[in-house]
């Protein structure tokens, strides 16, 4: 962890929090990306705004990469595909069952003092840490 990492983390965190506030101020919506993603990718006929939010994620991501020297090359480790597929299914299933993810519960929910979001955040952080730490030992 370098000073530049911490500065980037704080700038990034402020932008994430600011975007969540903007979405609530403008649309009255919670910036829960798992819900927005499910709506954008599967139900975009009902509402066009989740799809545009996802398009915005891509544009903003590209701009940030251009501003910070380009997107780093993607390095795929052997055997990573199976993890990506299994993990992706679990994240899709779990975020719908638990009504949110890192953004909806972790950022917006904590900021709204929601007891459900606090419980969910502690749970997915705890399980995520146990899982990653355990897999690193293998």
């Amino acid at each position: 962890m370098t000073t530049a990492d911490v500065v980037g983390a704080i700038i990034g965190g402020c932008l994430i929090g600011g975007a969540a506030v903007w979405l609530f101020l403008s649309l009255g919506r919670i910036a829960g990306i798992s819900g927005i993603a499910a709506n954008a990718l599967m139900r975009s006929r009902d509402h066009i705004w989740p799809l545009l939010f996802v398009v915005g994620l891509g544009i903003g991501g590209w701009i940030a990469y251009l501003a910070s020297g380009g997107r780093p090359a993607v390095e795929v480790q052997s055997g990573q595909w199976l993890w990506m597929i299994a993990g992706g299914v679990l994240v899709g299933f779990g975020t719908r069952m638990g009504s949110g993810c890192t953004s909806g519960h972790g950022v917006c929910g904590l900021a709204r003092f929601s007891p459900r979001s606090l419980a969910a955040t502690l749970t997915f952080l705890g399980v995520g840490m146990v899982t990653a730490t355990g897999l690193a030992l293998l």
């Binding site: 965190g13 403008s26 994240v91 975020t95």
Partner: protein, 145 residues
Amino acid sequence: MKNIAALIGGMVFGAGLVFAGMTDPNKVLAFLTLNQNWDPTLIFVLGSAVVVATLGFMLVSKRVAPLFDTEFHAPSNTVVDRRLLGGAAVFGLGWGMTGYCPGPALVGLMTLDVRAAVFIAAFVAGVIVYEKWGQISASRAQPDG
């Protein structure tokens, strides 16, 4: 206006995720892996995001309605139940396996990161499986976001 506001919100959110380093799944895994190489940077991401969002939500809550809608759509459910905790645990398992949560994976998909594209395809499959499996209990479901 709604759609333009959502596009702007997505852009700011996406840029934030990149600057924060969250679009690199290996960096996220370095945060979730508690060993001698532990990288605590993401605490600053979550911390600063929550501080900004807390102050912002306090100010916005003084309004009667959002700018481009007639009412706010914040969830009001406060009951911590098994469905919430079970879902969060399943999500945590997948997060700890891959280093991806939905936001950074979508940024990855849109910036042509092939790992993220595979992850999102599997994510959609997981959502479909839950919606088929969970139809019985869906009547008491209330989304938080």
